[in-house]
């Protein structure tokens, strides 16, 4: 693998050259501060852009074009990382080597992406009203659907309650109540601002000719020079006086018990890799404490995991249990954290977790999209995605490091979704 990094005016480019894959994949990411006034519009913009361009004026035309590119996949998504809101466009095409004809596939793909991002279909100088209206309806229904997946719903509700009043409480999709008021004209303005002010990164991976790619980028992705939006860590936090407990009643067969903690450690901190390993020991793998002790030993649940957010400094434990087991499960979960604080665990736990993280890390290199996503998430921290360096950092973590980072954890909020008692 050969990695090339350069800037073309306002655009930062990373090209990874490898013949491992049968596809060429690329990602274009726009980042800016996560802001309640723009977030919903930015989400809507991604959908509007992939609905109609000057050359492909309807969804159908766009999808026909994708089919002609040998079933290329176009993906758009929005994400948040700490205090940043990230709008992503992805395209995956078959490498032309595997096709009998068509050596212009790569050129066609760049031209197409240019069209999607720079050349939306307009009327009276703004987005088509018909398209905006339809995408507003679809986004509205997407919000409604979030409620249907109760695991996801309970997870989102915990963050909402825990970070109430903080910027981070904003969802990456934005706010359902803001959709109604959006019109084509102010949406278009937000789009122009995004093109002008966002920090833009383009990442490419595949068996490509570097000069050919550079030529195509220069031709199709002109971005003026602009200041970089570089602060990813959201350091807004609060003092926890007492644990906040929220119980919500819904008609569910299985109760969801989620607990949020403040870690006071982010991706910018020296002890970040300590936290990463600690979290792996707690709740990422089948050998982790939560799975072993809450599921396997006590049969209290089917799923139980923990996640950390490196941009915000929080950790979330989420599980599905029988509602009558609340006390038992809650106590047992907290006891696993105590175990990490006191260091009263078998040595193998730490070694196994380290190995498992390294295994995952090495596997990322076999998946083009995962590879680019890792490159990007390190770039946000002004780092390179360097497997060797990360392995060294993980290997250097000591038992004491784990204890210290576990002691920093502070329980913030419990969210319990459960069925009301009907026949008391």
């Amino acid at each position: 693998m050969e990695r090339i990094n350069y800037k073309i005016k306002g655009l930062n480019v990373i090209v990874v050259k490898t013949d491992k894959f049968k596809t060429t994949d690329f990602i274009i990411n726009f980042r800016n501060d996560l802001n309640v006034d723009t977030v919903t519009k930015r989400t809507l913009i991604t959908h509007v852009l992939k609905s109609a361009t000057e050359n492909y004026p309807s969804k159908k035309d766009i999808n026909l074009k994708l089919e002609k590119l040998y079933g290329a996949n176009l993906g758009v998504s929005v994400n948040k990382q700490g205090k940043l809101h990230i709008v992503s466009f992805r395209l995956s095409i078959v490498n032309d080597h595997y096709l009998m004809q068509n050596s212009t596939l790569l050129d066609d793909a760049f031209q197409f992406m240019h069209d999607i991002i720079f050349n939306p279909k307009l009327e009276n100088g703004v987005f088509l009203n018909k398209v905006v209206t339809e995408e507003k309806r679809l986004l509205n229904e997407q919000f409604s659907a979030l409620f249907d997946d109760k695991i996801r719903y309970a997870y989102d509700r915990l963050i909402e309650e825990m970070c109430k009043g903080e910027n981070y409480a904003i969802k990456s999709l934005g706010r359902q109540e803001d959709i109604e008021a959006i019109n084509p004209s102010d949406l278009h303005q937000t789009y122009l601002n995004m093109l002008k002010n966002d920090t833009v990164d383009l990442l490419v991976i595949g068996d490509v000719d570097s000069d050919r790619v550079k030529g195509l980028i220069e031709k199709h992705f002109p971005f003026d020079i602009r200041p970089e939006i570089s602060e990813v860590v959201d350091s807004e936090t609060k003092d926890i006086l007492e644990v906040n407990k929220i119980v919500e009643s819904k008609d569910v067969n299985q109760a969801k018990l989620n607990i949020g903690f403040r870690t006071y450690t982010t991706g910018k901190d020296d002890d970040y890799y300590h936290l990463l390993l600690m979290n792996a020991m707690l709740g990422v793998f089948p050998h982790s404490l939560l799975f072993k002790n809450v599921r396997e030993k006590e049969s209290l649940c089917y799923y139980i995991s923990s996640n950390i957010d490196k941009g915000k400094g929080i950790m979330i434990i989420y599980s599905g249990i029988n509602k009558n087991d609340y006390d038992k499960a809650y106590e047992l979960i907290l006891r696993q954290i105590e175990t990490l604080q006191t260091g009263d665990y078998e040595e193998a736990l730490m070694e196994h977790s380290r190995k498992a993280l390294i295994n995952n890390l090495l596997q990322i290199q076999d998946n083009p999209i995962a590879f680019l996503a890792s490159e990007y998430s390190h770039l946000l921290y002004q780092e390179r995605f360097d497997t060797k360096e990360i392995m060294d950092k993980l290997n250097a973590v000591t038992k004491e490091n784990i204890q210290n980072v576990a002691k920093k954890l502070k329980e913030d909020t419990i969210f319990f979704l459960t069925k009301e008692e009907v026949n008391k």
Binding site: K60, V94, S144, A145, D251, L362
Partner: protein, 427 residues
Amino acid sequence: MEKIVYDHIKETLFHERLDNGLAVYLLPKRGFNKYYATFTTKYGSIDNHFIPIGKKDYIKVPDGIAHFLEHKMFESEEGDVFDKFTENGASTNAYTSFNRTAYLFSCTSNFHNNLNILLDFVQEPYFTDETVEKEKNIIAQEISMYNDNPDWQLYFGTIENMYKQNGVRIDIAGTKESIYQITKDLLYECYHTFYHPSNMILFVVGDMDVEETIQLIKGNQSKKEFKPFEKVEKKHIFESNEVPQKDTVSKMEVSTPKVAVGIKNNESRLLGEALMKYEIALDIIFDFLFSKSSNNYEQLLDEELINNTYNYELTLEYSYGFALISSDTKKPEALKNRLKEILINAKNLKMSEEAFTRIKNKLLGASIKALNSPESIANSFTRYKLNDMNMFDAIKAYETITLEDIEKVLPFFDEKAITTKVILPQL
């Protein structure tokens, strides 16, 4: 060992059937860090009516037992199998579908150890009454979790509408009632019947030395003894395409109504090349009818009948087959009727040469892309093999399919094969 070179996709596959009957496939992937292996038995949730090995009479076992067995295989006499893989830097998992159970690992180091662990844990069952009891509560939680998942309920509810007797109508995990009937002895009986090497496929992908790998596998297998293979006698239930339930409605804690329209395949007796052709032809038709470039998709959006949850899929296996189209919608009645109408009219479908070629190229591109992923290669290769097909030949088959082949499968679109399932919000 047999070596098969697929020039058109730059892959080479190695194959050997061992003396004990195990089918082994090795696919070297130069430059990959990851090794990935699946060890699969032709035994899934629908296989609950069979003659146990060494016996004469058919027995019926409780629903969900194949999945239960999958969970319990992870326990060995020396403890937890997860730990052994973890010690060797591997991650492991398993899944049970309607017609197969697969055990797998992926790793980037200690490949040989991990391959031995995989072969050993799947071939050394160890159950106790106590651990079987404990597992029941965990699986009961798994069932509860799926009971709360409306998309899962919609999917299984539609299949339940379509089948009278075939086991495909019952959730893979069984029910809270059925799993409590499972015992240690029943698990052993199922195990010994279905986990014979002759009933299994091992598929390994990664940057390996092929000769070394096959020697390791042979060495591992030669140390174990298996009874001479008696063919598994299991009952397949073939049903006509007539659906027993045309229309069902249930209620759940959801925000928006959900609609699925299903269409059932007749008989589902095809295997091998015949199935491959049939499948590709139907794939092309479903793409033509329902993909995002179709007229129907555009119209359904215009009519505000569907949203981004819209989805369609086609499943064709031995003894069952169906297609499902689904979406959340504010207008469930209208969507139901429109989808039914599209399916019924499809029997008179005329596809242009242009559309046919375009869709063929798109599906061909998708099959080539899937070769990026060791997981998808191993799992789909095995799925094809269980139906007597070769995945790499399927890529070639796209080139030979014609518009006449498309016309031949149009009887699939039969009104009596259609069912609808609606989930409405409570209150």
